[in-house]
């Protein structure tokens, strides 16, 4: 951990007060609430922000907890794939943000427009300014669709364009575009991948697999051409075990695979996609249906702040944190949880489930002046749907190490049980996580 920038005196006193409140170990700290008068501000009222607010509310007594985020509707994003595959209605993923928040959390329905980490201050969309003693950044990913030339997010659901990531409505519109392709009885479907870290990096693969299931169901699969375009060399997924499985399966399913190609633009009227190749050349590909994956980054407000990584692979794009403690490397009173953090893995709701208790423990340790002992191992998981009705439980961590949770479920076998977990159990697990209960 590097040196702390100067902290205003009031905050030093507050943190000192917390430090004096207990001398117990972090484990003991979890047993009874820590006493602290710190003002904890959480940016982002999504999966990670809500989980952190509920956890900190329970484990800290006396602190003021302010949750910031303008979105009043909560979206269960892992369900988007089910909607876009024609299996779930949109309403199954919708709820209200307020219903997940326990008592004693001040939720301000405002987005943050600027962060001054040195002054420990954030500015809100209504121009209000808030100071904090401790900041938790949980603003998720920003979808940079604007980097695809000729494309606008409103085009999803028209002209054969789909994209599962944008919203529940976009997922529904994507499903309708796939239905249109199926009804046409023939055509070419293109699936793309962007060259940035992605939230649920399995989602583009799942969309390919579930679309294949829908095309196979017509009994005339041979009338459709399905092609996948990846920016990476011979790679569609970071973990070799799953990458090899997917590429082999696609070969069997006669999916064309084009690597080292980045989608740069669309000619929407003519249903043509433009790709830049790693060797500098370009190509244009006609399509009847295209599934777009936008480049992603931390939201602009993080990128414009001093909290962003200054060097390394995440420079300028993602929140700088220590990948194990989740504490900011230069601002010790800042922690990051969820999709926004610049770590090698960790952009799934299942990752949030593991990160939240780690960040909670380390925040308690920080407030009481103890060493930060909890470690996040990079745990990332998504049931990799390989057909409508079966899936592989892919679970891994830093260095691509497989981290299976259940000894009896093979991490490499397709299974109905894993599909059921995705279909029936993942949402309850997610809900329990929001309440800070798992």
């Amino acid at each position: 951990m590097s040196t702390s920038p100067t902290q205003p005196l009031r905050r030093k006193l507050l943190l000192g007060l917390a430090a004096g409140a207990t001398a117990a170990s972090p484990v003991a700290l979890l047993a009874k609430p820590l006493k602290s008068q710190a003002h904890i501000v959480i940016l982002g009222a999504g999966a990670a922000g809500i989980a952190m607010a509920n956890r900190l509310r329970r484990s800290i007594d006396g602190a003021r907890i302010t949750l910031l985020g303008a979105r009043k509707e909560h979206h269960y994003q892992p369900g988007y794939t089910m909607i876009a595959s024609g299996l779930w209605p949109v309403k199954r993923v919708l709820s209200s943000t307020s219903q997940w928040l326990g008592n004693g959390i001040d939720w301000l329905a405002q987005d943050v427009t600027a962060i001054d980490a040195r002054q420990q201050r954030v500015e809100l969309s209504n121009q209000q300014q808030l100071t904090y003693d401790l900041l938790v950044v949980a603003t998720g990913c920003q979808l940079n669709y604007h980097e695809i030339e000729g494309f606008d997010i409103s085009m999803i659901g028209q002209h054969g364009i789909g994209s599962v990531y944008a919203s529940p409505a976009a997922a529904q519109a994507t499903s309708e575009q796939i239905d249109a392709l199926v009804s046409k009885g023939e055509g070419r479907a293109l699936f793309t991948l962007s060259n940035t870290p992605l939230k649920c990096a399995g989602a583009p693969l799942k969309m390919t697999f579930t679309t294949l299931s829908r095309l196979e169901k017509t009994g005339q699969r041979e009338r459709f051409q399905v092609d996948f375009f990846s920016p990476y060399q011979n790679r569609v997924f970071a973990v070799p075990t799953y990458n090899d499985f997917v590429l082999k399966r696609w070969q069997e399913q006669k999916v064309g695979f084009f690597d080292q190609r980045v989608l740069t633009g669309l000619d929407v009227a003519n249903r043509t996609a433009y790709f830049a190749h790693t060797d500098g050349s370009r190509s244009r590909e006609p399509y009847d249906f295209i599934h777009l994956v936008p480049p992603m980054s931390a939201p602009d407000v993080i990128k414009a702040s001093d909290l962003v990584w200054h060097d390394g692979p995440f420079a300028g794009n993602w929140l700088e944190v220590d990948q194990y403690s989740l504490q900011h490397r230069r601002y010790p009173n800042v922690f990051g949880v969820g999709d926004v953090i610049g770590t090698p893995f960790g952009k799934t709701a299942a990752s949030v489930k593991m990160q939240a208790p780690v960040a909670e423990r380390n925040i308690l340790a920080f407030l009481s002046g103890q060493p930060l002992s909890a470690r996040y191992n990079g745990y990332t998981s998504c049931p990799l749907i390989t057909s409508i009705g079966r899936a592989i439980l892919s679970e891994f961590g830093y260095e691509g190490k497989l981290l299976p949770s259940f000894g009896f479920i093979s991490p490499t076998e397709e299974s109905w049980l894993v599909w059921m977990m995705k279909e029936q159990m993942l949402q309850p697990a997610y809900n329990a996580m929001l309440h800070g209960k798992v």
């Binding site: 479920i409 397709e414 299974s415 109905w416 029936q424 697990a429 798992v438």
Partner: protein
């Protein structure tokens, strides 16, 4: 994953279905209570009906989850399907036991 965690997730998964679980339990209790006066030995068809219901349940369970029987491939898949079949069989047996009696 810890046992606590698994139980908590199962609880969250069961919550939306609590009404159905309660309904099935009430149905069972009512059936056992109301039928307790009936005399005679168990009907010869009791087991075949209960096993038939269990088998039917096993066949439709994958379909119920947007899947299909041919995707029940690993041993945990088969075990889950078997548990579903045995559960339905026993439930039907208990439900019908008093009503299907022959003098």
């Amino acid at each position: 994953m810890s046992l606590d965690g698994i139980l908590m997730i199962l609880w969250y998964a069961a919550k939306p279905w609590l009404w159905l679980i309660v309904l099935l339990i009430l149905l069972l209790v009512a059936s056992l209570w109301l039928g307790r006066q009936r005399q005679g030995k168990a009907h010869a068809l009791l087991w075949p009906i209960a096993i038939g219901a269990g088998l039917a349940g096993m066949i439709v369970a994958p379909w119920f989850t947007h899947s299909k029987l041919s995707y029940v491939a690993t041993w945990p898949d088969r075990l889950v399907l078997l548990v579903i079949g045995i559960g339905i069989t026993l439930y039907c047996w208990c439900l019908l036991k008093n009503w299907l009696r022959q003098p």
